[in-house]
Symmetry: C2
Subunit: 215 residues, 2 copies
């Protein structure tokens, strides 16, 4: 209970965690332009948030600006990348090498953000045994064996909707504690398991609706 | 001003638009199981929202449940798919055929959600002239010519961060009114242009942070 309370105090709010990568992208751009210092006002103007919010968000990274000159860009970039976990290597398994799953295997950009997909799993004979972008695809029945071999800590779910919960349960049973769910299905997990839902098709629904209302 | 007021009244809230695809996925699953009716309580339990919220969200789709039996599943699935724009064909151009861009060209699943990527653009000689998953990649300088040919209404931005604003400005100048921004850069657009930001790497940051706090 006491441990839990400490964790809660130190917990970075999700909106902050989602804004920090925006700041990072802008700071890397400024660094590329040869700039050395940046103010929270400059960041705020670019990202379209309040300057006090920027300062508050950055205080979680334990970096504070100096009066007049602001933040030094190079250490701020390094600090943010480290804080966000982008400099670590988190190993992940991908479940369901369909259209979206295979697309993610192709996205080497994930490596730069600290995620390394080490293996894919599927049940379709035409996919099992293939190698996509250097990543082997195994039969789902080999999962527990491969889990011991690779020691992945994250499961990426790109299976069909009607298999999402079943695969989720199997992944959790293996001890994996974080799931990145790309299906439009709302998976159920125990409390101590982390889930991020990235339903890119839901973003499409918003875009189509707004497009209709302006045209 | 009056038009604007009418539009505001009829505007579906973004959280509703993001929840509706979750309902749809679950309803299609139930339909596959051979079920014919569903209650808002059943949907609510599955999606982990309040039953009154489900009823309110579904009222935007102009479908109401019947006392005791609830909603008829088949027309609700059809109604939702139509309402969300998934049954239409929205043509899109993709800008930046790098790792993530090429991955999206590979994702044929987008077609089932009403999005058809009709062409890709890049400036790298090794990419220009290639065909990925049946989609041609053109040089960026051909954009205005191809825009007349394909008449796309959506621009997907997967260029490097330092090119994001420049490409955005060029796309908007062509008359395209909706942008799907996958870069971690906060693009600036005029008021009458629709933007959806899908920064999948920001989701990674949240996941890594939460994973650290439980382990």
């Amino acid at each position: 209970m006491a441990d839990e309370a400490i964790k809660q105090i130190g917990k970075v709010p999700e909106p902050t965690l989602r804004r920090l990568p925006w700041y990072l992208a802008f700071l890397k751009l400024m660094k590329g332009w040869g700039e050395t210092f940046v103010s929270s006002t400059q960041i705020a103007k670019q990202i379209n948030v309040d300057p006090s919010q920027v300062a508050k968000d950055l205080s979680y990274v334990n970096i504070s600006g100096k009066t007049r000159v602001g933040y030094e860009i190079a250490p701020l970039v390094d600090g943010l990348e480290h804080f966000l976990g982008f400099t670590d290597c988190h190993k992940a398994f991908l479940f369901g090498v369909g259209s979206l799953g295979a697309a993610l295997l192709h996205d080497s950009g994930l490596n730069q953000y600290g995620l390394q997909i080490v293996a894919g799993f599927d049940i379709r004979p035409e996919l099992v045994g293939t190698v996509i972008n250097g990543i082997s695809v195994y039969h789902l029945s080999e999962f527990s064996k491969r889990e011991k071999e690779y020691e992945a800590t994250i499961g990426i779910i790109t299976v069909p909707v009607d298999k999402a919960q079943e695969v989720t349960d199997m992944i959790i049973a293996s001890g994996i504690k974080a799931l990145w769910n790309f299906t439009p299905f709302r998976i159920r997990v125990p409390e101590n398991v982390v889930v991020q839902n990235t339903s890119i098709y839901a973003h499409l629904a918003v875009m189509f609706n707004r497009l209709n209302s302006i045209s």
